[in-house]
């Protein structure tokens, strides 16, 4: 599928950047006219992945989070959130609803469940002490105008 737009954003693992990531991904997908539902789904899924990177990946220490996204001519969104933090010991376990490694800190353990519910596909690649990559895809509205311009 032909890619019609791509972006990359690196930011520090600071909590205020959760909102930054949501704004950036919203602006990025706007040209394909997503429905409000799709826009909300993508914003929420990205928010979950970025929060995981900040809270679990870096345990709120300073590190870089990378947000990458691309759109194809059929309105397919690919988005990737990567950190170089602690990594996840057991990805399958982490993806289980309500599983959390931080019982005392009021994490709901729902992050991956939300990502899986709101996106079409979610792939998690993680290695202990080297980081985590979350790749998600979602089919948005087709973008005939953009595709012609590209």
């Amino acid at each position: 599928m032909k890619i019609i737009n791509e972006m990359r954003l690196d930011f520090w693992s600071r909590p205020e950047n959760e909102a930054l990531a949501r704004m950036v991904i919203s602006a990025f997908i706007m040209p394909v006219n997503p429905t409000l539902e799709q826009l909300g789904d993508v914003k929420t899924a990205v928010s979950e992945a970025v929060t995981n990177a900040i809270v679990h990946g870096y345990r709120e220490a300073k590190g870089l989070v990378r947000l990458r996204a691309s759109l194809d001519e059929a309105g397919g969104l690919s988005v990737e959130i990567a950190d170089k933090g602690r990594g996840i010991e057991d990805v399958d376990k982490a993806r289980r609803p309500f599983f959390t490694t931080m019982e005392d800190s009021e994490r709901s353990g729902m992050g991956f469940t939300v990502m899986e519910s709101f996106m079409d596909q979610v792939e998690v690649i993680s290695q202990l002490n080297s980081g985590t990559i979350v790749r998600m895809t979602k089919r948005l509205a087709p973008a005939p105008v953009l595709a012609r311009e590209a």
Binding site: P15, A19, G40, T51, R107, S108, M110, T113, V114
Partner: protein
């Protein structure tokens, strides 16, 4: 600063804007200060003005639910928009937290 009302043992907190990890961490101390008063038996969240919530909001709710329950109190939610409710339904929280009309 939280927008709240305290009356007859009930604290009602109106949340607007976005409830993410950052915001949940920011409001927690004030929220817990409010309900630290043993006279508070019921905590009500008004989500009507809430534009965005992710699972950090769910975590915050579960935490307050545990706190209130540990002293025989209760938590209730006045539902927000479709987005917020979608997450609330997904979490199953309405099985333990009362949903007000």
């Amino acid at each position: 600063m939280l927008d709240y009302e305290k009356r007859n043992g009930t604290v009602c907190v109106r949340l607007s804007g976005e409830l993410d990890h950052r915001r949940a961490e920011a409001i927690r101390p004030e929220l817990d200060g409010l309900i630290a008063d043993p006279g508070v038996r019921r905590l009500v969240f008004d989500f009507a003005g809430l534009e965005f919530m992710d699972s950090s909001g769910i975590g915050m709710l579960i935490g307050r639910y545990k706190l209130m329950r540990s002293r025989g109190g209760s938590v209730a939610v006045m539902p927000g928009g479709r987005r917020v409710e979608r997450l609330m339904e997904l979490s199953g929280l309405y099985e333990i937290i009362e949903k007000l009309a």
